[in-house]
Every structure is written in C-alpha cells, then in structure tokens.
C-alpha cells in the first residue's frame, strides 16, 4: 500500500511542532527533553477550550498543524483518530466518583469520556461531516491508525488525515499503564503525489517478528517507548532527515508494519 505524506503535525516532550523539531529529529541539533507544551486550540470556542481534556487539545493542535502544512481543507477530508486509551484524567475522576455514596458524575465529563471525543470536537471545529473513525490498538495504536489510512487510500482513493495521540494516566492507573509523556502526531496522506508531497510512504503488513526501529538518541528513544503515539518517532526522524529509509513498526499478534519512506523532490 502506497501513499504520499503532505503535511505533518507534532507535539511531544521538547518537540514544539514539526518545523521546530525537524533539526532535532534529523540529529542536527541536540534533543532537550522538556514537558510537552500544548498551545490553546484556536479551533475551539472559549467555553469548550476550557472544558476540553488534554487528548482533545493534543489531537486538535497536531491536526491543525498538519492541515496548515499540507494546505488542505479540513472540512472535506476524512479522518482517522487513534489512541491507546480515552481521556485518562476523566476515567480516573469517574472511577473515584463512583466509589462515593452519591456517585454523581458530571454530565460534561461523561460526554467527553468517549474514545472518539477528539474526533467529535474536530468535526465540530472544522465543520467536517466527512467520515471519521476512532481506533485503538494498545501500544500499536499508531501503526493501526496508519494501516487504516492505507486501507482507506486503497479502497476510496481520497486523501485522509491520521491523528494519533496519548497522554499519561494519573495514579493509581499510571502504575498499571505507565505512559510517561504527552504526545501527538498528525499526517495528511494522499493517494497521489502532489506539489505538496513531502515523501512517499509504502506500507507492508508482515506476519513475522522483526526488531522494531529504535532511535539513536536516548532521550528520544525514552519518549518513543513512553507513549504509544510516539512509536511514530522513527518515521518522523526519517522524514526529518529527508532520506530514503525503511522503518519497522511493531504491530499486534507477532506482526509488524514494514514502512518505506522516500522523499519527494
């Protein structure tokens, strides 16, 4: 399955956007880990800007950056959202509330607890009525989202946006599922090469164990291992270097996604 990457959005620890992070990811500048900074979303009205949780803010911020980069219209582009879990802070708060005598859940929190909250807010913010799917696949959530995008490109022949994001749980859930940083990445993918294309990407699902591609920088490698969405980092590093590379993304059930990146001239 082959596609073209037209736009990239990125937020992670010490990674403040795709353009700002390219030199670091390419290895031209040193990586300095720092807390992920999520800018307030201009896509949301003020009331919702306050209410929206971190996953929604992350998803909207990277999605917007990628669409701006690609120069594409978000309202007419189908989307694939992928994350390992829904809003962990809300889940924790609801589970705590349900141990109290009153068990009074906040209706807004409950509404925002659905896995597809980010997709819902994205659709409202961009006025998009295009199809959108919200998938999850534990540590392979980024790979699963990428695979779904490739299937959409092959089946429908239309551009599609991939938005992958995850955030740490609060304790006590953190101890059972240690996600260590906030991370979001978005890719705009098209079936054909356009003047905006950054790179071609070829995807092959293989049923065999293979060593997943790691990062040379220990700080970036820690980020990669610390967040399911950050499993995208080797692919982003290849895009930043602008070189033709093969990247192995671990999938589930002993399979992996063999991904070949080739820059567009």
């Amino acid at each position: 399955m082959r596609a073209y990457i037209e736009g990239i959005g990125l937020l992670g620890p010490g990674l403040r956007g795709w353009d700002e992070s390219r030199a670091v990811l390419a290895g031209a500048e040193p990586y300095r880990p720092a807390r992920t900074v999520i800018p307030p979303s201009e896509l949301l009205p003020p009331a919702e800007r306050r209410r929206a949780g971190i996953p929604v803010k992350l998803a909207l911020a990277v999605g917007r950056e990628a669409f701006t980069h690609a120069g594409r219209d978000a309202a007419s582009t189908p989307t694939v959202f992928t994350s390992s879990s829904s809003d962990g802070a809300i889940l924790h708060e609801m589970c705590e509330t349900l141990t109290t005598a009153e068990r009074e859940l906040s209706p807004t929190r409950f509404m925002n607890s659905v896995h597809n909250a980010a997709a819902g807010y994205w659709s409202i913010a961009t006025r998009s009525r295009e199809p959108s799917t919200s998938v999850c696949c534990h540590d392979a959530s980024f790979a699963a989202g990428l695979l779904e995008c490739a299937a959409q490109l092959a089946a429908d022949g239309r551009p599609v946006a991939l938005v992958s994001y995850d955030e740490p749980y609060p304790e006590p859930l953190h101890a059972t599922r240690p996600i260590t940083c906030e991370f979001g990445v978005a890719l705009i993918l098209s079936p054909e090469e356009t003047r905006r294309s950054v790179a071609a990407i070829e995807l092959e699902l293989r049923q065999a164990d293979a060593a997943e591609t790691r990062l040379a920088d220990p700080g970036l490698e820690a980020a990669r291992r610390g967040n399911p969405a950050a499993r995208s980092l080797p692919l982003l590093a290849a895009l930043a270097r602008g070189s033709a590379e093969e990247i192995v993304l671990k999938y589930v059930a002993g399979a992996h996604l063999r991904t070949r990146i080739a820059p567009c001239r």
Partner: protein, 400 residues
C-alpha cells in the same frame, strides 16, 4: 463497494444466546428489559437489558487474564451459532494471518476498573494486584481477546466511536479486504453494563425510568443493555452457502454539531444513509426495511425520523428493536445488523417492543407489530456521541 459475503453470525444479549432465541423474541415482540436491581450497588431508577448468568461465567482456560464482563459476553456470542467453528474454518481456508479482527466497544473493561477502585490500598492508593489493565480496561483488550480466542493473527484493532462503534467496524473490515490486507474478517462488538454508563446517562437525563419506548409519544429516554454480536465477512467466492447474506454498503458521516445531541434535522444521519445507498449502488426504493437507531430519547428519535423521511419518504417500513434489547452502546450496531440479517433470512419486519402509540409528530412508517414479508435488503442505522454516524446495507446474496 465490493459486496462481501456474510457467512456466519452470532449474537448474545438479554433476549438470549444465539440467533434462534433472538429471532423467537423478535417474532413474538418479547422484551428482555427488567428493572435495574442488584447490579454492583447501582441505585438508578431505570430498566436494563441484562444478560443472565454472566456473574457465574468465566473465560476459557488459557485466557483467564482477559476475564471481564465484556469479554464474558463476547465469549457467549463466540460460542453461539457455531461461530467459533466457522472462524476456525476460515482460518484453515485463508490462513490465520489473512483473517482480520475488527471489533467495536465503548466500555471494554471499565466495570473492572470501577470495581478495582473500590479496593484501593488505603495507605498507598494503589489498585489491587489482580487488576490487569492491558487485558481488561484497555480499549483494545476486547480485540486482543477475540483474536486470541479464535486464533486469528490478521490485521486487527478496536473501533471505539461510542454507539456507532460496531457498525463502523464493518466499514473498517470492508476497506481492509478491498485493500488486500486480508481475505476475510471477524467483525462485531461487545459492551457490558457498568456504573459509568448507568450513572453517566443518568447525569445527562437520558435514562428512562420505564422500559424505553422508541418512537412513542411518551418516550422519555433510553434503557441500557449489554451483549455481543459477530459476523464473518468474506470476499465473494465459489462454493459459498446459497443462502448467504451480503454486506452491500457502508455509509459513514460526522454531525459537526454537538458532542451528545444529534443535529436537529438529522443532517449527519441523512448523509450516512445516502452514502450507504451510494456505496451499495442502490436507491431508496430498493430498501425493504430500516432498522432504526431509535434510542427512545425525544430528540434522537425526532432527528432520525426527519432524516429517514428525507431520504426514503414516509412509506418504507422501519422500527427500532431497542425496546427488546435495550441500547447496547458499542455493541448496538452489530446487534441490529444481525437482527437485520434475521429479517432478510426469515422474511420478517420486526415490530417495536414496548412502543404503545407512535408519536404523531413522527412521519416515518413505524412498525408496531411484527409482520411476515419478503425482505431483500435492509438498511440499519447507528449513531453515537461525538456525532458519529454509520448506516449499513445488508441483503440476500441471491438477489445480487
């Protein structure tokens, strides 16, 4: 889209385990709803479609770590209607890595997290040692459980888009098969009762204190249910069963309106139905029955009614079966897809359990009584929070 064979399907919910029990209930307009009592101390004045026997069940030896209410009800459906044997036959035919697994759920193992929070260590706040995040609470836990249960290693993920999840999983499978990533797929979903949804829908004032009454003039909210359903989708092939059913079309859309309230004129719902018809290369007149989302909240039913009348006019027979099953949330889509399959295979138009008198403000041809009729093709609707809409078209393979 390229139509896909549906070579096996199975179901478990409050009406029973297996398609025979569900068919009998739908024919008789029997409802499985009962007052919500003795469910982990829940004090919510509402009715639920609860699956009996789940408390005493377990999951298959070797997969004990996946034990959760949702996975138990999934297993109940996998063991019904010869489904796991049919999946094994598909594994033999295509190879384990050529059969995908695309499953919808909204809650996965949230109940297990709720119960674990009651047993936190008083000193450290830690969850009890037996709590298994990855096999229960993780949204993908259900997909991994089903893949391992059936020994399938093809492309797999969980779709979680609230109440449209397991309808949308049909779309994911169809695309994967079209793209050549697999030759067949197990699709479906499961969801179980939990305090989060009972108290959450109550907080939104969406739960009814009575059995839910879709399209009724006195409808006042939903009844939650639980259950699972699965279908085996395959590329058309020689030697397929003559009475096989087919997935003919999938239509998906977003409302772009509100997180928990549908667009008042059902704009997103219209688009989903129109796209499903386009995908099936059919017109509105080709559809013999519409299985509605029909949750029985005043606004949902009114919006869906407008959308149906806009796309189909006011004569296509339609009904919601949620008065019988309750609202299965992430499993609603596949549950109603399977009821639609039963309608085609057995030639019946399901009447609406619990509905007494249709709201005169609603203009569609809503069925109160079950009727025998030739049903060649059905469209089924699923709409979820976040404005996530999906319509499926299912038909008789002999007509195509």
């Amino acid at each position: 889209m390229q139509p896909l064979l549906i070579t096996r399907f199975s179901i478990a919910n409050c009406l029973g385990a297996g398609t025979a029990a569900v068919l009998e209930a739908v024919r008789a307009k029997r409802s499985g709803l009962a007052p919500c009592e003795d469910f982990h101390g829940a004090a919510v004045d509402t009715w639920v479609g609860r699956v009996p026997g789940l408390e005493a069940a377990g999951v298959r030896p070797g997969l004990e770590e996946y034990d959760s209410r949702t996975n138990r009800v999934a297993q109940m459906a996998l063991e019904a209607d010869g489904f796991s044997a049919a999946a094994a036959a598909a594994r033999e035919r295509y190879g384990a890595d050529r059969v995908g697994v695309f499953i919808g759920t909204s809650t996965s193992g949230i109940l297990e997290a709720e119960l674990a929070y009651r047993q936190r260590d008083p000193a450290t706040g830690a969850l009890p040692g037996g709590f298994r995040y990855h096999a229960t609470l993780s949204t993908y836990a259900l997909g991994e459980f089903i893949g391992r249960y059936l020994g399938l290693t093809g492309p797999s993920f969980v779709v979680s888009s609230a109440c449209s999840s397991s309808a949308k999983a049909f779309g994911n499978a169809a695309r994967m098969i079209a793209a050549g990533a697999c030759d067949a797929a197990v699709v479906g979903g499961a969801d179980s009762l939990c305090l989060t949804t009972l108290y959450g829908f109550k907080s939104l004032e969406l739960t009814s204190r009575h059995p839910c009454r879709p399209f009724d003039r006195e409808r006042d909210g939903i009844s939650l249910g639980e259950g699972a359903g699965f279908a085996l989708l395959e590329k058309p092939r020689a030697g397929a069963p003559a009475d096989a059913l087919m997935l003919l079309g999938v239509g998906e859309s977003s409302d772009a309106y509100h997180m928990s309230t549908p667009h008042p004129e059902g704009a997103g719902a219209k688009l989903a139905m129109q796209r499903a018809l386009e995908s099936a290369r059919l017109g509105a007149a080709d559809i013999d029955y519409i299985n509605l989302h029909g949750t029985a909240t005043p606004t949902n039913d009114a919006a869906e009614d407008q959308a149906v009348v806009h796309v189909f006019g006011a004569s296509t027979p339609c009904s919601s079966t949620k008065g019988a099953t309750g609202h299965l949330l992430g499993a609603a889509g596949v549950t109603e897809a399977i009821i639609s399959m039963l309608a085609v295979r057995h030639g019946l138009l399901p009447g609406s359990a619990q509905t007494r008198s249709v709201d005169p403000a609603l203009k569609s041809n809503y069925l109160l009584e079950t009727r025998d009729a030739r049903v060649r093709r059905v469209l089924t609707n699923s709409f979820g929070f976040g404005g996530s809409n999906c319509s499926l078209v299912i038909g008789d393979a002999r007509v195509h």
